[in-house]
Amino acid sequence: MSLFGQGIFEALRLLVTGDPEVWQITWLSLQISATATLLSLLIGVPLGALLALSRFPGRAVAVSLVNTGMGLPPVVVGLFVTILLWRNGALGFLELLYTPTAMIAGQLVIAAPIVTGLTLAAVQQVPEVFRLQMLGLGASRLQMIWVLLKEARLPMLAAVMAGFGGVISEVGASMMLGGNIKGSTRVLTTATVLETGKGNFDLAIALSVILLVITFLVNWALSWIQQRRRV
């Protein structure tokens, strides 16, 4: 059997037999990335809407910054946040390094600009006339933003998918911030790196397959919501 075949077979075997370590790693990956995405929505949606609707000097620079942030290299984020969280670092007193919380923090920094940028684009594509009409009909500014966000919810689901996809698949920040500690901060991507280093290629492929399946299932559910109203 080819190495890929072996890996896929191994993935099925691990999932079906309910290998506790693999399940724990999978569950932790989901928890960390789902939490980071959720938090990035709480920051990114208001920020993106604000940037889309307000006009102020330096707005162009702010928008460019957000767009640059959408491509932040995870290793760079990992390195900076790690240095902040070191015992010697500015936030060392929190003693968060090598914990799932630290990984969530890193992933939040990666996902927040993605969600902000895509929200910005989604809100901006709602026609200006619609906004003016609402204000003309006596809606308050907050009411208007709420309606706009509802109107833009389909493209915003794309923001959720992009944010989640960005963080569940990244390895650089998770490795540095979590330390790939067995049973505590080992996630699918870091475990894949470890097993490759150990020469356990079939297990590494199995973990990759599980990661792909999870990402697919999450995106499939989100796409389903996004697409069904279009019919």
Partner: protein
């Protein structure tokens, strides 16, 4: 509504993330061990760490990186105890007072592997240094870790002894772990210096035989060191000491002695607690 259900599900997954233990109070229960990749990749720590945690009631956070980084982290007070394998670098840190109580734990050995047709004609040479000289003279491809790991430090020491500064198209620096480096060496039909444990683990996928072995400079000696609390705030001195004592204890040394015998048909490490560098 399906959408609400999904949003609820997402929330449910998000909550209940195992968050960090409460700061300050809990810290004395956590020991940060900075160590080299080989101790983790070989699986040895997967055996030793749970043993220690059970015995001491402490939690170990193993940060497995190259020896250079493991020592640098400890010197900044970012770890409590270090298990490394680069005696020359370790002694420097001990002299500077960053680390103390350096004690030998175990050893295994390095080997030089290469293509079976052996273009540099090094097979069976008793001295590793002579082998490297011939590789350089014949400009045969050699893959180096190039990452300041214990293996890389030893390799650099050998080049220095040979009076050669390796550079040129034949000298490839991978910048990666031992496993990946073996893969590159295999692909390029090149020579490489590797620890025997990783080589055994990759035997099935690496078609390069051992050409030089059993030379004294090829000994791969692992030591444990405690971290000077002056290096930074929050160094867990007692925890680091407890782990160091644990790896040197007779029961642990007995476990190290047998480790790997079932999987590779030969033990991967020889325990040497109590010995000194000069004894080997």
């Amino acid at each position: 509504m399906m959408a609400r259900l999904l949003a609820g599900l997402w929330l449910a997954v998000s909550v209940g993330v195992p968050v960090a233990p409460a700061p300050a109070l809990a810290q004395s229960n956590v020991v940060i061990l900075s160590t080299t990749t080989s101790t983790q990749d070989s699986g040895l720590l997967d055996v030793l760490v749970p043993m220690f945690e059970k015995k001491s009631g402490l939690t170990v956070k193993t940060i497995s990186v190259g020896t250079g980084q493991a020592l640098a982290l400890a010197a900044r007070g970012e770890a409590d105890v270090t298990l490394a394998h680069a005696p020359s670098v370790e002694k420097k840190y001990v002299e500077e007072g960053k680390m103390f109580n350096r004690r030998l734990v175990m050893y295994n050995d390095f080997v030089i592997i290469g293509p079976a047709d052996d273009p540099a004609k090094i097979k069976g040479l008793p001295k590793a240094v002579d082998a490297l000289k011939r590789i350089a003279e014949s400009q045969s491809r050699f893959v180096s870790r190039g990452d300041k790991s214990g293996t890389h430090v030893l390799e650099q020491g050998l080049w220095k002894q040979a009076g050669i500064e390796p550079k040129g198209a034949w000298y490839i620096e991978s910048g990666q772990g031992m496993g990946q480096t073996l893969g590159i060496a295999n692909d390029r039909r090149a020579y490489a210096l590797t620890d025997r444990g990783t080589y055994l683990a990759f035997q099935k996928r690496v078609d390069l035989p051992i050409l030089v072995e059993k030379d004294r400079p090829l000994l791969n000696i692992y030591s444990v060191m405690e971290v000077n609390p002056a290096n930074g705030p929050r160094v867990n001195v007692a925890g680091g000491k407890a782990f160091a004592e644990f790896v040197l204890a007779p029961e642990t040394q007995a476990v190290i002695k047998d480790f790997g015998a079932d999987k590779y048909c030969q033990p991967l490490f020889v325990p040497i607690a109590g010995k000194k560098d000069e004894d080997l």
